[in-house]
């Protein structure tokens, strides 16, 4: 047996000082040589544990083999047969806790860089065929079944469900509330982590499968779910995500300069406020910015604020470094760029001036107690530990819940007290006839790939229901 190569090929990145001042992508991607070198480390083990670790079951060893052999069209084919959005997943999936965690070489602490290779394949395809050259008409993948399916929401869950159902020959229409498709991939994740051009080209790919995308269509307002069901659709998939921002609930939270991460990121990413005034939407650029929270959205917000020109950006998190829910890679990127982490710190109230502008944030120091129901150690307020951080902008990134718009306008949809829609994990089926759901609307805010996995599961069950 050949000697194991335990040297993961590093991916080139923009230098921290340089990238902290621009919105260009941080990670630059492999060259063909680098990709082939990394691919050649794969031992093609018979167990294929990596496939088990992938929520959408990509045949990982097969596309890696194709890269090694230089057969890029084959690599694209293998990858896209299971994953309609590889350029997105290659960038934002937490591979370290999924396919790369189950990779046989993970035991030697040198798992194959599956995410980087996936990204390489997707980028190769874009560079070589280009979205524009993809066929505009539905691909002749199968006969039309004559069944109509409505997909509500065009984020990762909706796009995946739509792509799978279209490939099976169903007629699929996506209803999207915003003016572009992509959901959180467009409004939430910043350009420097996931270029919008890549999202657009993967959305275009889904459209090229024959999926119709209706923008500006707020389901629950423009038409209710029941009206859609009565309008000739055989089934509906709900993939509307978790779009409702959570706040701390303090009266002082409505000071000017305090944003939800959703608003801040929507202004910056979707509306391109970083290009104001060339683009019309403004965003406040603070000098001293505090971001509250420790997830990926908090990291994204902090790094956007830095790039917009803030002098100082803090991440304020009530637990410690090890409990940060964000991907390690993004935490390290943020630290390298100069974001200051204030661990074991929690806001008590916001301080404002006479004009209602935020000028400070009074915080408590925290300590960690016993683990709570989430398995993480519970943060406890240290009495009398109050101190003030001077800030002129605050971004609240404490998570999101599903928007109640659809549930509140639909009869017979079961929801939990967190506003999530109840659906069978194995099928995505809700208690309502002909309605499936998946992604953040069911789980609360989670990852892109888990939403895609849920979209896939539901698509298979919808197909079964329709007699496929």
């Amino acid at each position: 047996m050949a000697k194991l190569n335990l040297n993961r090929v590093a991916m080139p990145r923009q230098a921290p000082k340089k990238r902290a001042k621009n919105f260009n992508e941080v990670a630059l991607g492999y060259s063909l040589e680098q990709a082939q070198e990394e691919a050649s480390r794969c031992i093609q083990c018979p167990k294929r544990n990596c496939v088990e670790g992938c929520p959408v079951g990509v045949d990982i060893p097969d596309f890696i083999k194709a890269i090694r052999e230089g057969d890029m069209p084959e690599a694209v084919k293998v990858l896209k047969s299971k994953n309609a959005l590889p350029g997105i997943c290659g960038r934002v999936c937490p591979q370290e806790s999924q396919c790369e965690a189950t990779c046989t070489l993970a035991k030697k602490e040198a798992p194959i860089a599956i995410g980087r290779l996936e990204r390489f394949v997707a980028d190769w395809e874009r560079g070589n065929t280009g979205a524009a050259k993809l066929p505009k008409s539905p691909k002749p993948t199968g006969k039309s079944t004559g069944k109509k399916i409505a997909v509500v929401g065009s984020g990762p869950a909706g796009l995946t469900a739509a792509a799978d159902l279209a490939k099976l020959g169903h007629s699929v229409t996506i209803f999207e509330a915003l003016h572009v498709a992509g959901g959180v991939l467009m409004y939430g994740i910043p350009e420097f982590r996931l270029p919008k051009e890549i999202v657009q080209s993967e959305v275009d790919y889904v459209a090229s499968l024959g999926v119709k995308i209706e923008l500006d269509s707020v389901v629950g307002k423009l038409a209710t779910l029941d009206e859609i069901l009565a309008d000739g659709y055989n089934a509906v998939f709900l993939g509307t995500g978790a779009g409702l921002p959570m706040f701390l609930g303090y009266p002082s939270e409505n000071l000017n300069g305090i944003y939800s991460a959703n608003e801040f990121l929507t202004r910056v990413n979707l509306m391109k406020a970083y290009l104001f005034p060339d683009y019309d939407t403004p965003v406040k650029v603070g000098k001293q910015v505090a971001v509250i929270g420790g997830g990926n959205v908090a990291m994204d917000s902090a790094r956007c604020a830095l790039r917009l020109g803030a002098d100082k950006v803090y991440i304020v998190y009530r637990r410690s470094d090890v409990e940060l829910p964000a991907r390690r890679e993004e935490v390290e990127n943020a630290m390298e760029e100069g974001i200051e982490f204030k661990f074991l710190t929690n806001p008590k109230q916001f301080l404002g001036d006479e004009q209602n502008w935020v000028v400070g944030m009074e915080c408590h120091r925290m300590e960690l107690g016993e683990p709570d129901e989430s398995g993480r150690r519970r943060p406890i307020v240290k009495e009398g530990s109050e101190f003030v951080i001077d800030v002129d902008e605050v971004i609240v990134a404490l998570g999101t819940r599903p928007n109640p718009l659809i549930a509140s306008t639909t009869e017979g949809l079961e929801t939990t007290r967190w506003g999530t829609v109840v659906a069978d994990e194995a099928t995505g089926k809700t208690v309502k006839d002909r309605v499936w759901a998946g992604g953040d609307i069911v789980t609360g805010s989670a990852t892109v790939i888990s939403a895609m996995g849920a979209g896939k599961v539901a698509a298979a069950d919808i197909n079964k229901f329709l007699g496929g």
């Binding site: 921002p245 409505n254 000017n256 202004r267 509306m271 683009y279 403004p282 209602n356």
Partner: protein, 277 residues
């Protein structure tokens, strides 16, 4: 794209667009709004629905030029189209038979009050309308409002038409006259709505206002439009736009309207520069 079927310049800097938007027209109700985006680089702004016609598939908006976006919008002509026209958003105005309703409109608010007054009239209410503007030249839709009203009072700040003064004066007299007023609907600039609410408070007459804070998506996603009502934070886009005027924190509302004053000025100046050259 959504086509402008009809454009009317109502008065200086206030314009009407009748838009082709059949799906929105089908569901629109008085008191709801749309979010409009002109083109790729445009911002999303909320505009209240001034009229709708399901049969014709049209929705009418009336807007005032106050900054770069509305100035850009005002340059469009009949036959032009805008990129996005999203709606109908927000909770429709409460339409019931209340008895006698005083509808108070200030400035461009006349266009917002019009469909509400019409619906209230249709529901069997007696409608007393008070319409106020700065001067005669800025008066519009007094005829439209009159058609839905049993009584109509017009005020102008400078006395160039109707009664000289502001809307709160006839409103107060009406409440003092002993005539039973079951509800007041007051829509216009923030300061006008605030003072209408203060005027009716001692009389204990429920006063509904329509708030138009800064918004982005208009569907409850961003929280930009936070307002405090009865000490609780509400999102005007999904919980409103109509609220009980006696419970609104008006100072907060006014302060949050000023968040982007600097940027708005900068954008307007940029636009004026590029437009004049």
């Amino acid at each position: 794209m959504y086509k402008i079927l009809l454009k009317q310049d109502l008065v200086t800097q206030i314009h009407l667009f009748r838009m082709a938007a059949p799906a929105v027209a089908r569901k629109a109700r008085a008191g709801q709004f749309v979010v409009v985006r002109i083109d790729e680089k445009g911002e999303r702004i909320p505009l209240t629905i001034a009229d709708y016609d399901e049969k014709e598939g049209t929705v009418t908006i009336v807007f005032m030029e106050v900054g770069a976006t509305t100035a850009r919008l005002a340059l469009l002509k009949e036959g032009d189209a805008i990129a996005d026209f999203v709606g109908p958003l927000g909770v429709p105005a409460e339409i019931e038979k209340f008895g006698t309703v005083a509808c108070v409109a200030g400035g461009v608010g006349a266009a917002v009050v019009a469909p509400i007054a019409r619906a209230l009239k249709k529901a069997g209410n007696k409608i007393i309308t008070i319409l106020g503007t700065r001067s005669k030249e800025l008066l519009f839709w007094d005829d439209v409002l009159k058609a839905s009203s049993d009584e109509m009072i017009v005020t102008t700040d400078d006395g160039s038409y109707g009664r000289k003064g502001v809307v709160t004066e006839p409103l107060k007299e009406l409440l003092e006259s002993g005539q039973k007023i079951d509800r007041v609907v007051a829509i216009g600039p923030v300061v006008m709505m605030k003072f209408c609410a203060l005027t009716t408070l001692p009389f204990g007459v429920k006063t509904i206002v329509s708030l138009n804070p800064i918004m982005v998506d208009g569907t409850g996603m961003c929280g930009c439009c936070r307002v405090a009502v009865d000490g609780e934070t509400k999102f005007a886009c999904v919980d409103g736009p109509d609220f009980d005027g006696h419970k609104v924190d008006w100072d907060l509302m006014a302060a949050r309207q000023r968040i982007y004053l600097g940027e708005e000025k900068c954008a307007y100046e940029e636009w004026q520069k590029s437009h004049s050259s």
